[in-house]
Every structure is written in structure tokens, then in C-alpha cells.
Amino acid sequence: MNKTKIKWNVIAYFVMITFTLLTIAPIVWMILNSFKPHSDIVRNPLSPPTSLYLQNFVRSWVQGHLGVYFYNSIFYSMISTVLTVIIAMGSGYALSKFRYNFSKIIYMFYTLGLLITVHSVIVPLFIMETKLGIANTRLGVIIPYIAFGLPFQVFLATTYVKGIPDAMQESAIIDGANYLQVFFTIILPIATPIISTMFIYTFLGNWNEFILVQTLTSEIAIRSLPVGINSFAGGMSRDYGLQFSALVIGTVPMIIFYLIFRDKIAQGFAAGATKE
């Protein structure tokens, strides 16, 4: 009994440490290389930097307009995440607690949305946005971000709200509250754990999104970081130093964001993602 337990502990440590190394090594390697000039990286890709070469960051920031992109990334991620979460919570509440039959059809529609790739809608979407005059505007980016975020977030919201006992809602209704009041004063406060989870997930997804913002915008002033990073990512001519510094600028903020909020990610899943 004890032997098997020790054996399991060894296996557990082995798996955990392997995963950790696989995660840390590439990230450390990326950060180290971002402090090396291009010629150093070409000649010795694996060695640590001999001195702190900050020029990469200065140049990629200025030459690649990363300052503007950075601001836009925060803008898009923030606004569309907040809207996605509010809309998804509203839908989740309506779909799970109103007991209309057609809720099932709507829910099914959202589930099918999980299966759609961005590439299969991008051309019609662009044509529509141009006709509406919102292509190349911030609104034109935020709308599809919300729409693509919805299927998964509606799912999370619906399963979570389903788990909230009906009694709470019913007593409020009997006391004369209307459904919208119930949503704002009862459902939303109880759902804080899933809201944090939804927020973090959506934010991460929006932060890393590339195809939509690349296709639907054309001005530097309204584009976001992934577009900036893409313009540094290799090809016919290159500067690996700039490339790595751009990758660090795009990646490290999300790692920090995650480290701050990491304990919030898990809590929403405790009640979501299960059938009650």
C-alpha cells in the first residue's frame, strides 16, 4: 500500500515537473533572446545574452508602432469582454430560468456557433461591414469579437445560472420584483465566480485575436498588438531581435494578468461545466 503510494508520488512529481519545464523553458528562452542583437541570435540561438541589449525593445516599440497597438489591444479586450460577459449572463439567465420551449432552439444555435471557424465567415462579414460603413472602425472590431465570444460564454453562463436554486428567484418575484430586477440584484451577485472566469477567458481570447482585426481594419491607429507582432514575424527579411522583443511585449502582459487572476479562473468552473 505504502509502496504504491510512493510510486504514485514519484509519477506525480515527474509529470508535474515535466510540464513545468516544457512551459518555462521556451518562455525563458524567448525573453533571453529578446535582449540579444540579431547577429548574436543568428550565431548563437541558445546562449544567454552577454549584455543587456535594450535596443530591440526601443526599436520594435517605435518602428512597429507597438505603443498604439498596445493601447488598442487593451481597449478592444476590455470593452468587448465587458459587453460579452454582460450579454452572455443575460442570455444565460433567460435561457435557463424562463422555461420557454424555444430557449432550447436558441441554445442549440449558440452551440453550433462553437463549430464555426473565423475564416468561413470573414469575407461575408467584411462585405457586410463595408456596406454598413463600420469596416475600419473600432465598432467594427468589437461587434465580431462579442459575437465570437458568445457561444462559449453563453454556455458557461447558462450552466452556472441553472445551478442557482429557483427558490431565490421565486420568492423575489412573489415580493413583486420584475425579472430584470431579479437579474441585476440576485443573479449577477451570486454569479460572481463564473463572471470572473468568463471575463478572464474572454479577455485572453480577445487579446490574442489576429485574423479579424487584421482583415476588418486598415489604419495603424485602430489596430492591435497581434497585427504588430505579425509584421515582425519572419519572412523574406528579418531581425530576430526585434521579433523576440515584439513577442515579449505581446506575451508578458498576459502572463502577468494571468498570474494575478489565476485563482479566479478555476472557481467559475466548479459550478459551471456540469450537468445539474
Binding site: Y179, A266, A270
Partner: protein, 295 residues
């Protein structure tokens, strides 16, 4: 306004914003591409109705079939790799088999925060024929001519990608399972232990049955994600060399955006949806059977 009307109005007020956005951005274009899938259209001028020709051509193209095979392997690695491994990791953490579980949990989930493009770039440096694996093997074996050639084998080329996918997504499943494991009432387990149940019996009789619902749901997401997998593979190999790592989404992309075959490309994306729906239906009926068995 009667109570019923008020209820109905609130319902639509809550549902409408999301539904309108979703319909406009996703549903409408999908119907549009469904109708395009029966035509031949280069993006300009008139489209030509060709019936099912696109679908017939797709299914007789060996490149598509190899892509389909790769997608199925990705489904397999997701459902039979990421999910069990994520479950195992969650279980190990839950049973506190390692010290510093918080730290490991953080590290295992971390990859999901990084953009697939960055992940691809980093892993390419590891697997490429001039990459780290090759350098290490050369050092250890003393064979300075050694070159890692896994990408040059039609049937094996997808393996490094499967490995990276496993690394990338296992963390998500682990977090979900961990959260749900923590919901199991500890007193039930204690009671079982007092009754003399072994670790294995507790796992199979109590823990696993209570997780069936969660596992089914995560498997649905795994399937949906696997069939539309694009970003990572496109950035890592672009489907090459020689289409060895082709997947359906890349096949669709190439035909639409490089060869300007809109009708054909639309048919491919419809196939992605239909395949996903099919697999998910199979999965759901299987899980219903399992759930019945436990009841």
C-alpha cells in the same frame, strides 16, 4: 402589461442583444456560405451553380482525406489524451500527491495565455531540423550528421503538432476537473474509506461517476475545437511539408484565399460543421449510455 407579457418582454430584452449580434456575424454568413457551397465562384462576376460537384471533388481529393485523417488524430489526442491527462493531473493535485500544487497548477495552465503564433514559433525552434532536439541528439550520440526528420514522414509528421496541442490544452481540462473534484462531498469519501474501500474502488465507484457529465461536456468542446484547429498548425507548418500536416481548416483556407475558389472553400467549411455535429451526437449518445449504467 400582464405578468406574462412582462415576463416575455424581459426575456427578449435579455436575449435579443446577443442573439442579434450572433445572427448577424455568424449565422447569416454561414447560411450565405452554405448557398455558395453549391456554386463555382472566384469572388468576381457571376457564380455558377454546380450542385454537389464541390462536395464530390472534396471527398475524392487525397489531400483532403489526409487532412481529415489528421483532424481525427487531433480529435483523438484531445479526447483520449488531453482529457485523461488533464483528469490525472487534476486528481494528483486534488489528492495532494505533490507539494506546491498551486505552483504546478499555475504552470500547467500557463500555455493557454500565450498566443498560438508565439507558441508555434517557440516550438518550431525545438522540432525543426536545425532545432534544439537535433542539437541535443547530435551532442549525445556524437553523430554530427544527425537530423530530426519526423516532419518528412507522411504518417508521423503530425506527431509534434499533437504533442504541442497536448501541452497547450491539457491545462484547461485540468482546471475544469479540479474545480469539479473539489465539489465532491468529502464526507462521502470518508464514509467509503471507513467501510474499507480501496483508493481504486473510491476512484471508480464514487469519483469517476460523479464526473461523467463534466467529462462529456469537455469532450464536446474538445471535438469542436479539434475539427476547426487552424492557428497553431498554420503557424507551425502551414500544413506542410507536402501536405503531411494538412488539416481541414487549412485546406479550406488555401482553397479560398490562395486559389480563389469561394464555392469550394465554403463547401469545406460546411463539411467541418457537419462532421462536428455528427461526432458530438455520437458522443452524446455514448455518454447517455454510460450515465444510465451508473444510475
Amino acid at each position: 402589461m400582464t405578468f406574462k407579457q412582462q415576463k416575455m418582454a424581459s426575456y427578449w430584452l435579455l436575449i435579443a442583444p446577443g442573439l442579434i449580434l450572433f445572427a448577424a456575424v455568424i449565422v447569416f454568413p454561414v447560411f450565405y456560405s452554405f448557398s455558395l457551397s453549391f456554386t463555382k465562384w472566384s469572388g468576381y462576376g457571376k457564380s455558377l451553380f454546380v450542385g454537389l460537384e464541390n462536395y464530390r471533388n472534396i471527398f475524392s481529393d487525397p489531400v483532403f482525406l489526409h487532412g481529415l485523417r489528421n483532424n481525427m488524430l487531433i480529435v483523438a489526442i484531445s479526447v483520449f489524451g488531453q482529457i485523461p491527462l488533464g483528469f490525472l493531473l487534476a486528481y494528483m493535485l486534488h489528492r495532494k500527491m505533490v507539494r506546491g500544487g498551486e505552483f504546478y497548477q499555475t504552470m500547467i495552465f500557463l500555455p493557454i495565455t500565450i498566443s498560438p503564433v508565439v507558441v508555434a514559433l517557440l516550438w518550431n525552434q525545438i522540432f525543426s531540423s536545425s532545432g534544439i532536439v537535433t542539437a541535443l541528439i547530435r551532442n549525445f550520440s556524437g553523430n554530427s550528421q544527425y537530423v530530426m526528420k519526423i516532419f518528412e514522414d507522411k504518417s508521423q509528421a503530425i506527431i509534434p503538432i499533437l504533442f504541442v496541442l497536448l501541452w497547450m490544452h491539457t491545462g484547461t481540462y485540468m482546471i475544469i476537473y479540479l474545480a469539479n473534484l473539489q465539489k465532491i462531498n468529502p464526507s462521502v469519501l470518508e464514509a467509503a474509506q471507513i467501510d474499507g474501500a480501496t483508493e481504486g474502488q473510491m476512484f471508480f465507484r464514487i469519483i469517476l461517476p460523479s464526473m461523467v457529465g463534466t467529462i462529456t461536456t469537455t469532450a464536446i468542446f474538445a471535438i469542436a475545437g479539434s475539427l476547426k484547429a487552424f492557428d497553431l498548425i498554420y503557424a507551425m507548418t502551414g500544413g506542410g511539408p507536402a501536405h503531411f500536416t494538412e488539416v481541414i481548416a487549412i485546406y479550406m483556407y488555401t482553397n479560398t484565399f490562395k486559389y480563389y475558389k469561394y464555392g469550394f472553400g465554403s463547401a469545406v467549411s460546411i463539411i467541418i460543421v457537419l462532421l462536428s455535429v455528427g461526432l458530438i451526437l455520437i458522443l452524446q449518445s455514448a455518454s447517455k449510455k454510460i450515465e444510465k449504467k451508473y444510475e
